[in-house]
């Protein structure tokens, strides 16, 4: 009888630790290292790329903030490339434009897209 109770508890602890290890700590929202992600970003260059170029290449942004000064795209990293379609680990490409619609600053934020939670 005791053994029958003890075994599920032991199994619970073991499985919990295993699941926690696998799922638990691998989704912290953080900035990607700019150097390591530059290879994904292709045509996107601060100071040079215009908003029109971005929209022509990537289509309409998923979200717009600050009256269009900030565009956010949900992106995925697949086979060394940044893509707009995927179903796993969604990231946010945040693009900040100046008054002349030139890209002022951009960041790729790991798990930073709105629906990332559902897809993890």
């Amino acid at each position: 009888m005791l053994r029958a109770i003890y075994l599920p508890i032991k199994l619970t602890v073991f499985v919990s630790l295993l699941v926690a290890t696998i799922i638990g700590c691998w989704g912290t929202v953080q900035n990607f290292d700019q150097l390591s992600t530059s290879k994904y970003e292709g045509f996107i260059h601060d100071g040079n790329t215009t908003k029109k170029e971005v929209i022509d290449r990537l289509g309409p942004a998923h979200s717009i903030y600050e009256n269009g000064k900030i565009l956010i795209y949900n992106v995925y990293l697949k086979d060394g490339r940044m893509t707009l379609e995927g179903n796993y680990k969604c990231h946010a490409l945040v693009l900040l434009f100046d008054e002349d619609n030139f890209l002022k600053r951009h960041r790729l934020i790991r798990y930073g897209c709105k629906n990332s939670e559902k897809e993890l």
């Binding site: 599920p8 199994l11 499985v15 700590c25 989704g27 929202v29 900030i70 930073g112």
Partner: protein
């Protein structure tokens, strides 16, 4: 206590429950990161560039709310899969009309709770806009 919570307690009592070091499930907002966003200094742009897109945009972006889940224990139904016992966490951020951060608050919701109550707390319903 709601039926759902009573049922959960019963299942835990009848099955197994292992407390665990609280840990995030899925996407998590790191305290060290969001604490770098200082009130009266950080702007809405800084927030977006640091944390990405918020799950909730409220009152025409006067408030942002980020949500994540922290697991405090794992339950186990014999011969079934373990299930997480979690509480949702929220980061509520309020901005001035000139886009500066004026309030940063961390809320913990009810177990398996929905965000509506916390949205109310975050937006302090019907309060006039604060000035910096």
């Amino acid at each position: 206590m709601t039926f759902r919570k009573t049922l959960l307690c019963l299942v835990i009592m009848l099955a197994g429950c292992a407390p665990t070091i609280p840990h995030g499930l899925g996407r998590v907002y790191d305290k060290k990161v969001y604490e770098t966003l200082h009130t009266d200094e950080a702007t809405r742009t800084d927030v977006l560039m640091t944390l990405g897109e918020p799950q909730y945009r409220l009152e025409e972006d006067r408030f942002f709310m980020y949500e994540w889940v922290v697991v405090y224990a794992w339950g186990y139904i014999p011969y079934g899969l373990p299930f997480p016992i979690y509480w949702p966490h929220y980061l509520c951020l309020e901005f001035t009309s000139d886009s500066f951060l004026i309030r940063r608050e961390h809320f913990i919701g009810d177990m398996y709770g929905k965000p509506e109550k916390t949205i109310q707390k975050c937006t302090l319903m019907n309060q006039p806009e604060k000035t910096p």
